[in-house]
């Protein structure tokens, strides 16, 4: 019985880590650590960005668990907490039941947490600072701030529930359009700095870093998948901005004014 519980604990912890942007080796380490502590004699873990396979032997029985990962996001607090829980369990400070309960609570916690005003404001401030850092003038600060806030509201509206890449395409599109509008109305000087600043927090930094780390640790399949993801995200952002610029320069400008 405890074998099933341990498998549940390990797979939930791994799922939380993977869904919130941890690298492959961390997920595999965590699952192996939990299974070993729970008494599995021969644990094998295979982690892809889209799924987890766990196989282990306990009390002469082979147990297997497969977990499919559909959505991916970045939430570093969850990674930190799960890491903490698994370490505490591995060093014997908490029991299996406690660990499972904590991980399950954390899992419910994620679904309740949505874009709050503070996150929106922080994103806007980050983009404003990035715009000035990249060589924009201070008059570009406020346009970048507002553009980012609008972009985040647009893509954060969960009612749309667009596909991940389409969401990023929309972000690029809106950043381009709003930046153009601001320049046209005389707020801000550097269009390129405003757009790059607004999109900088969305660049696939997490995916690309994790891809290279996976390559270096030898997880070739995960590395390839993450690299493709990073390239697709970059292409989606650039495509959105390009479409906005083409649309605005060619047609919309005459229509609005």
């Amino acid at each position: 019985m405890s074998g099933y519980q341990a498998m549940k604990f390990a797979s939930r912890a791994g799922e939380l880590l993977l869904r919130n942007g941890a690298e492959t080796s961390r997920v595999e380490d965590t699952i192996t650590r939990i299974c070993t502590q729970a008494g599995f004699s021969d644990t094998d873990v295979l982690v892809f960005p889209t799924g987890i396979f766990i196989n282990g032997i306990i009390n002469g029985k082979i147990l297997t668990k497969v977990r499919r990962i559909h959505t991916r996001d970045t939430n570093l607090t969850i990674i930190s907490r799960v890491n903490d829980i698994s370490r505490k369990y591995a060093s014997g400070k908490i029991s299996l039941e406690e660990g499972l309960k904590k991980v399950s609570d954390l899992r419910l916690d994620t679904s309740a947490e949505r874009e709050s005003l503070w996150i929106l404001l922080a994103g806007a401030l980050a983009s404003g600072a990035a715009t000035v850092l990249l060589g924009g003038s201070w008059s570009d600060f406020v346009p970048a701030l507002i553009a980012t806030a609008l972009v985040r509201i647009v893509i954060g509206a969960a009612a749309f529930n667009l596909a991940y890449l389409l969401q990023l395409y929309a972000a690029g599109l809106f950043a381009g359009l709003i930046g153009n509008l601001f320049i046209n109305w005389g707020f801000g000087v550097h269009l390129d700095k405003i757009i790059v600043g607004a999109l900088l927090p969305l660049v696939p930094g997490v995916a690309l870093t994790n891809a290279v780390r996976d390559f270096i640790t030898g997880d070739l399949l995960s590395g390839t998948l993450r690299l493709v993801e990073a390239l697709l995200v970059a292409a989606a952002l650039a495509g959105g901005v390009g479409f906005a610029l083409a649309l605005y320069g060619g047609y919309l400008k005459n229509l609005i004014f």
């Binding site: 961390r26 570093l76 930190s80 390129d192 700095k193 997490v206 690309l208 650039a238």
Partner: protein, 150 residues
């Protein structure tokens, strides 16, 4: 210069907030971004090639993240993910897109490849650090064990 340092601090820190970094790590995350940005800009100012500067920036971010992770007991990822945001070659990628839009495909390909190369060199610099740390630790623990055996 001082202002730009402060701006890179703010960029990294607030990006960290949007990625839901644990609150106790907000300030260190800002410093991670600031140090990496200073390393890259300083090296480019010394006429060092951009790619070398990118690797060095990655190593600085990775090393500081490793140190802070040891002190604060958070995973290294927490610091790295937001710490590299000020170093990402966003302007190069944007210019590449602009070249494609203006039908200058050769320029566009050149800039796109440059952006990709800079980003992957940055990531490689980040990824080298844990390997070095692990190597040093293995070296230290094995020599320690030998000393214990003797």
């Amino acid at each position: 210069m001082l202002l730009n340092m402060f701006l890179s601090f703010l960029t990294a820190m607030f990006t960290g907030v949007t990625l839901r970094t644990p609150p106790s790590a907000w300030i260190p995350v800002g410093f991670t971004g600031m140090l990496g940005w200073m390393a890259i800009q300083g090296l480019i100012g010394l006429k060092i090639p951009e790619l070398v500067a990118a690797v060095s920036g990655g190593i600085v971010v990775g090393a500081f993240a490793e140190i802070m992770a040891r002190i604060q007991k958070h995973p290294v990822t927490v610091y790295i993910v937001s710490g590299i945001i000020p170093l990402v070659p966003g302007t190069t990628a944007y210019n590449s897109m602009l070249s494609f839009l203006n039908k200058q495909f050769i320029d566009g390909l050149f800039l796109a490849f440059k952006a990709f190369l800079l980003a992957s060199y940055l990531a490689a610099g980040l990824a080298i650090v844990p390997l070095i740390v692990r190597y040093i630790r293995a070296l230290f623990s094995s020599s320690h064990r030998k000393a214990m055996d003797n």
